[in-house]
């Protein structure tokens, strides 16, 4: 299922040529619409890698979980720290699990 963009929040990365989600999307699916808000132009091609969700500086993108994994109540939300990523996993019954990982592959 495709990433869903909160149009209120998205600021099109201040209408730069390439917003962060566009830069980071491995399938080159995200782009800016005419209203300067990001959208996924081929939702069926999305791999649900969540790169855009992680990269969005204003937290405007949410990845809907594919129905094979969970119905609409289920959610997977990343929160990016300076060197960590924190996942909140909510299943269809509303059960919450949280994980925290230290990023790998730091260049410094």
């Amino acid at each position: 299922m495709p990433p869903k963009v909160d149009r209120e929040k998205c600021d099109g990365c201040k209408a730069q040529q390439e917003p962060l989600c566009e830069q980071v999307c491995p399938g080159d699916l995200m782009t800016l619409g005419e209203d300067k808000k990001a959208y996924c132009r081929m939702p069926r091609d999305c791999w649900d890698c969540m790169s855009c969700t992680k990269a969005c500086p204003v937290g405007a993108i949410e990845t809907r979980i594919p129905y094979q994994l969970g119905y609409h109540l289920a959610k997977l939300i990343p929160m990016m720290g300076t060197n960590t990523i924190t996942w909140t996993c909510i299943d269809i019954n509303g059960k919450v699990e949280r994980f925290r990982y230290v990023n790998r592959g730091r260049l410094d």
Binding site: K9, C13, K14, Q16, P19, L20, Q23, V24, A55, C56, P57, V58, G59, A60, E62, K75, I77, M79, M80, G81, T82, N83, T84, T86, T88, I90, G94, V96, R98, R100, L107, D108
Partner: protein, 782 residues
């Protein structure tokens, strides 16, 4: 600079024994001396005595200590002394850190001694985490040119240029018109002394010429500005004068033969056909306006009939060259002064008084011209105040001078024609400061009537051409009917014509009224672009005296970026190019426009333009920007150190980021003044609340800290324009995310704090702790 040794010295100074009373110092010392990386940990008895610091100095000298952490209450002056003293021994001042346990409240809060000592240990460990990552820094020297650019050669610009040339600087004066002098040169008299303004201007011009350090660029405009403070590259576009300035001696032969009469008025407004007033008409070739300096004629080529070269033929010194082309000139200057001044508000927009329709309704600026001309002064004159000013349909502000101008004009009229009667129609007379004297003088003068009320109708009498006015005197409640010879409208000031274009070229922010933006209380002349200073009426409407004062203040500030070189504080931001993905958000949101692209198109802060507020650090979505002495890594390490629980397991912990300009002082004073600040909070100070990156808040929450508080200025008070608004927007976004994560969105809170808001700070923390208790522990707490 080589990497300094990681051996850290930790020195306590227990001033007045306060720490000893509150904490178990021996336990702390023994605990800390076992910490990794600490090679010396001791309590100084009297650091300010003759031998007090000998052991520290000794160890630093031998190279046994590479970095220092001082625990205790060291005043800013004492910190300076320590920095200086140890710098002599070769220790970089940026390798020292101070940990004031008292300001964090460990001596006063309501904890048991063990818990207090635990909190103190945590606070020291936080500082140690930072000390481990400190880097030696040194100021950076950037070259600075010896010359300055003054844009706008009116009274403000000329006077500022005089001050600067007196100090030995080279000044380039850029003027759009054919001559210098600006609006002031077209005034007839100054108040309160009623002297001729040209006298001051002539004096300035003479001083500038004598100095040999001023260059006048007339008929010019700035078309581009590159580089930064100390080193601006300016490109000027110079329109042709069609007269060689070096050859022309203003003999006027050319004007005598010129066949074209054109109306030219210094205030670029239709002069109107005033009875008795000769139209201010000159030829297509005429002296420089407004006051004949530079002493060379100028041709208004657009008026020349095709093929006419009469002036060229007539000129005895072969100065006229009708084939001149526009040209460009490049300048290198250290700083830029903007004194572009004002234009009169276009009064034809105010329809009710018939300006532009009736010839004897004129503006106050035209009245200056009339008073200056030799024609007989009119007998019955009305002055309407606040025309278009303080009126939401036109100008929402007061231009501050128009009342005094009308008073002055009435006074001068009475001196020239004692039988004249003046009527001043006003809402309020605003005569600030000593100008009240002028008002009182006029009030007592015979033949000057003040009527509180604005005329409702102005109609010309068909047979005489005089103006018939109806006005209700709101003080007596009576209707007054008058017939006048002349009606003068006191219009307000608007930013001068070119200021919009100039704002684009200089990338200078303007306020909603079109004037150049600055921090009006603290840095009135500092624009939002470092190295560009705004003075006079380009910043705010003001009188001539105030505008000269303002321009000279701007000149004083601008001096900083001249003189060979400028030292830049090394706490500037750097972009981690391995992380940056060139999203350019820093370029967009830096309040001072300090970022530019380097050769690989990475955004790079310009050292001169940057004011080191750290807003870029907070803005960067990838946390790739760091201030050099307050890096993201250092801050993350401090947060990590703070995540160990210092409170009893059930009590919530709060991590606060406080703006060092005010919120930090409020917090510090709250402890000093004995407010019951809950012990649950530890804080760090940041240069501006806008420094706080969402990744740092996420770090704190993910590590189990229950709540994060950001203390920033009140709206509109931020010294860095809008750091507080930016961080609030970001923390709101994060709160929304927390809500989606099934956490309480209130775990991140922003509080507006002013410098003396100790009570508000205490209450905010109390409330926060209480709310956090109700929310329960952070779900990420292990």
């Amino acid at each position: 600079m080589e990497t300094p040794s990681s051996k850290t010295g930790l020195f306590f100074w227990d001033q007045g024994g306060r720490l000893g009373k509150a904490l178990d110092l021996n336990w702390l010392l023994s605990k800390l001396s076992k910490t990794k990386g600490i090679s010396c940990c001791s309590l100084l008895e009297d650091p300010w005595g003759p031998e007090g610091l000998s052991q520290v100095v000794e160890k630093v000298k031998k190279g046994e200590l590479g970095r220092l952490l001082w625990v205790g209450r060291f005043s800013r002056e004492q910190q300076g002394i320590l920095k200086e003293k140890l710098a002599e021994e070769g220790l970089n001042p940026y390798l020292q850190e101070w940990c004031d346990l008292e300001e964090q409240g460990v001596c006063r809060d309501g904890l048991e001694q063990t818990a207090r000592s635990n909190k103190a240990l945590l606070l020291i460990q936080m500082c140690l985490a930072r000390v481990r990552l400190l880097e030696p820094l040194a100021p950076v020297e950037i070259p600075a040119s010896e010359s300055l650019l003054v844009i706008g050669a009116g009274a403000a610009g000329l006077h500022a240029a005089v001050s600067l040339t007196n100090l030995g600087k080279e000044v380039h004066l850029v003027e759009r018109q054919s001559g210098v002098g600006g609006k002031v040169a077209s005034l007839h008299r100054f108040y309160p002394r009623l002297c001729d303004p040209r006298c001051g201007l002539e004096f300035s011009i003479q001083t500038l010429i004598d100095s040999g350090r001023a260059r006048f660029h007339t008929l010019s405009r700035v078309v581009s500005l590159e580089g930064g403070p100390g080193n601006f590259q300016v490109r000027l576009e110079k329109r042709p004068r069609f007269v060689d300035e070096a050859r022309c001696n203003a003999c006027g032969e050319c004007a005598r033969v010129c066949p074209v009469q054109v109306g030219v008025s210094p205030d670029s407004q239709p002069q109107g056909e005033l009875p008795g007033l000769p139209a201010a008409a000159t030829k297509a070739i005429h002296p420089s306006l407004p006051m004949g300096f530079p002493m060379a004629y100028v041709v208004e080529r657009q008026h020349c009939p095709p093929g006419c070269r009469e002036c060229e033929r007539a000129c005895p010194s072969k100065a006229v060259g009708l084939d001149q082309e526009p040209r460009e000139e490049e300048l290198l200057v250290g700083a830029v002064l903007v004194t572009t001044g004002w234009d009169p508000y276009p009064l034809f927009k105010v329809e009710e008084f018939g300006y532009g329709l009736y010839p004897n309704v004129i503006s106050n600026l035209q009245m200056e011209g009339l008073l200056g001309s030799p024609v007989e002064a009119p007998k019955e004159v009305g002055f309407i105040q606040c025309v278009g000013s303080r009126d939401e349909r036109h100008l929402s502000y007061c231009s501050t001078v128009c009342c005094s101008v009308s008073l002055k004009q009435a006074l001068y009229l009475k001196q020239r024609r004692p039988d004249a009667s003046c009527y001043v129609f006003y809402q309020d007379i605003r005569s600030p400061g000593f100008q009240e004297e002028l008002y009182q003088k006029l009030k007592d003068m015979e033949g000057v009537t003040f009527i509180r009320g604005i005329p409702s109708t102005v109609r010309p009498e068909a047979e005489t051409g005089r103006l018939r006015l109806r006005v209700e005197d709101t003080l007596s409640g009576r209707e007054v009917n008058l017939a006048l010879d002349l009606l003068v409208l006191a219009g307000g000031m608007v930013p001068s014509q070119g200021s919009e274009e100039l704002a684009q070229v200089l990338r200078l922010p303007r306020n909603s009224l079109g004037f150049f933006e600055s921090h009006l209380q603290c840095h009135p002349e500092e624009s939002q672009r470092t190295g560009i200073y705004v003075g006079g009426c380009s910043r705010e409407p003001m009188g001539v005296a105030a505008s000269i004062e303002s321009a000279q203040h701007a000149a004083l500030e601008a001096l900083r970026f001249t003189g060979g070189s400028v030292l830049i504080d090394p706490r500037y931001p750097v972009v981690d190019k391995t992380k940056c993905d060139k999203c350019k958000r820093c370029m967009e949101e830096c309040p001072f426009g300090s970022f530019y692209f380097d050769e690989n198109e990475f955004p790079t802060p310009h050292l001169g333009r940057c004011r080191q507020c750290g807003n870029c650090v907070g803005i960067c979505p990838l946390a790739a920007i760091s201030l050099r002495n307050l890096t993201i890594k250092q801050m993350a390490a401090q947060i990590q150190a703070a995540s160990a629980s210092f409170m009893d397991g059930k009590e919530p912990t709060v991590f606060a980021f406080l703006c060092q300009n005010d919120a930090y002082h409020a917090a510090k004073a709250a402890v000093e003044e004995g407010f019951p600040v809950p012990p649950n909070v530890v804080f760090v100070k940041v240069p501006c609340a806008g420094y706080v990156n969402n990744a740092l808040i996420a770090d704190a929450l993910a590590l189990g800290i229950d709540g994060v508080l950001i203390g920033g200025c009140e709206d509109g008070q931020c010294h860095y324009v809008k750091g507080n608004q930016l961080v609030r927007k970001r923390s709101d976004d994060l709160s929304d995310k927390l809500q989606k994560m099934m956490m309480d969105r209130d775990r991140v809170r922003f509080v507006n704090l002013e410098i003396r808001d100790s009570e508000k700070y205490t209450a905010a923390i109390e409330q926060f702790v209480q709310d956090l208790r109700a929310m329960g522990p952070n779900p990420f707490k292990i």
